[in-house]
């Protein structure tokens, strides 16, 4: 595919790796967090960590939308779907996320709940139009990339006068999460996570632009390089970050200029601003309560808010105590540090959310990285 394949060239990647090796100061180490799950996946899939010099390390961040949704929210969606009037529409990757009591949306569907996988919010609108006797609820999750399509559906439902379409809104914001990580005890007080810079999200930035990152580049003195999702994009971003650290700069640079503009997508931002407003607090798996990090429908669109129509109560629920998803999402632990990883927790039978989505750190490591660990330990053992 054009604008994808040429950014996967192995020869070029090795050349960029050699430049990174030459640019990186052998006497220091560099730790960069890739915030976005799309980058986590690309880094594992293309073996980027193996190409980097040992003193340049990547830390997985909490940018996998399925992974950061707390169990209580899935529980609420399941309770909603068990209402016989309701048809719950959801993106496919939520179906297998473990909820409380060993259940999941998939199991609730098998038990008779009307839960349907959709590709787009517009599919949910079509279902609501075709089945006027059903209460169609769209289970909306995701970062700034998936929020405009939800806003579009709400505005469309309002324009069409649809009375049987609502949204269970769980949309979250990237900048709030990055700020939360930078202010967390793991980074500040305990020093368990060292972050020298960020690989900024690709698709999220097509919507929000480069401007929202300027605050923490400045305030926390951390460079940010927005990068595309192809392996050469990530490699080039790492080279740009190494150069910024060497120069003592902390700027927002845009490696993904072919898709990201400074102001993002104004049409998409306008729709989001029309439909949604900030919640005071929203719970994230791994990060806990993060102030002003989630969205809800504005009062003007209350008729399309599933939380108001069905009186959804949020009841927090604990993760499996042995599951390390929370620490992995904060960058404190790696997937292989979890004793459940690859034993009882695999993509076929996930215990934690990081093993469910292809963008999750555990699923990516299971699919592409676990043999590399073994090869390394075999080499070490001689």
């Amino acid at each position: 595919m054009k604008y994808a394949d040429e950014y996967r060239d192995g020869t070029l990647a090795r050349a960029v790796a050699a430049r990174i090796g030459a640019a990186a100061d052998a006497a220091s180490t560099y730790h960069f967090m890739e915030f976005c799950g799309g980058h986590t996946h690309a880094i594992s899939r293309y073996g980027i960590e193996d190409l980097l010099p040992p003193n340049v390390r990547l830390i997985h961040g909490p940018g996998c939308p399925v992974c950061v949704l707390p169990i209580g929210r899935i529980d609420a969606a399941i309770r909603l779907a068990q209402d016989p009037r309701v048809t719950l529409c959801t993106y496919a990757d939520l179906m297998r996320v473990p909820a409380s009591g060993g259940t999941s949306l998939l199991r609730a569907k098998a038990a008779g709940a009307d839960i349907r996988m959709v590709y787009s919010t517009l599919d949910a609108i079509r279902i609501a139009e075709a089945e006027p006797d059903r209460e169609v609820v769209f289970f909306a999750i995701g970062f700034e990339t998936t929020t405009p399509p939800t806003a579009h559906a709400v505005r469309l439902a309002a324009a069409k006068g649809l009375r049987n379409f609502t949204v269970f809104c769980n949309h979250v914001l990237t900048p709030s999460a990055i700020q939360n990580i930078l202010e967390s005890p793991d980074v500040r007080a305990l020093g368990r996570v060292r972050i020298d810079g960020f690989i900024g999200p690709a698709h999220v930035s097509t919507v929000i632009g480069t401007e929202p990152y300027m605050f923490f580049a400045e305030e926390f003195a951390k460079p940010v390089v927005i990068a595309g999702f192809e392996p050469l994009d990530v490699m080039q971003a790492v080279l740009m970050l190494v150069r910024q650290v060497n120069d003592g700069r902390h700027e927002v640079e845009n490696q993904y200029g072919r898709a990201v503009r400074q102001n993002g997508n104004e049409h998409a931002k306008d729709d989001v601003a029309d439909v949604f407003e900030l919640r005071k607090n929203f719970e994230w798996r791994g990060l806990g309560m993060v102030p002003y990090s989630g969205l809800r429908l504005k009062a003007a669109y209350a008729a399309f808010d599933a939380e108001r129509r069905f009186g959804i109560d949020y009841v927090p629920a604990a993760d499996n105590p042995a599951c390390e998803c929370g620490a992995i999402l904060r960058g404190v632990k790696q997937p292989a540090d979890c004793k459940l990883f690859g034993t009882v927790c695999t993509p076929e039978t996930p215990i934690g959310s990081c093993m469910v989505s292809a963008e999750g750190a555990c699923a990516a490591h299971w699919t592409y990285g676990r043999f590399r660990d073994k090869a390394r330990s075999d080499v070490a053992a001689g």
């Binding site: 054009k2 070029l12 050349a15 430049r19 579009h152 200029g257 072919r258 898709a259 997508n265 729709d271």
Partner: protein, 67 residues
């Protein structure tokens, strides 16, 4: 609000909503997420970045070449 286009994903065709890229024209490359085009790929920027990568490759090859 409901402008759609047939988008070709390396051989797989799909109807994609163009609400957020009203300036998109036939033949443009678009970045698509959950059924919506979010941005039109800027071919000039794509070539700039790629030229930079190739320059890196040439520099590396020159550095590796025996003197």
């Amino acid at each position: 609000m409901m402008r759609f286009a047939q988008v070709d994903f390396g051989g797989v065709g799909k109807q994609i909503n163009l609400a957020y890229v009203p300036h998109a024209r036939i033949g443009d490359y678009v970045l698509v997420h959950v059924g919506f085009a979010l941005t039109v790929i800027d071919e000039t920027e794509a070539e700039l970045i790629f030229a930079d990568l190739q320059e890196i490759a040439e520099l590396t090859a020159a550095a590796d070449a025996p003197a």
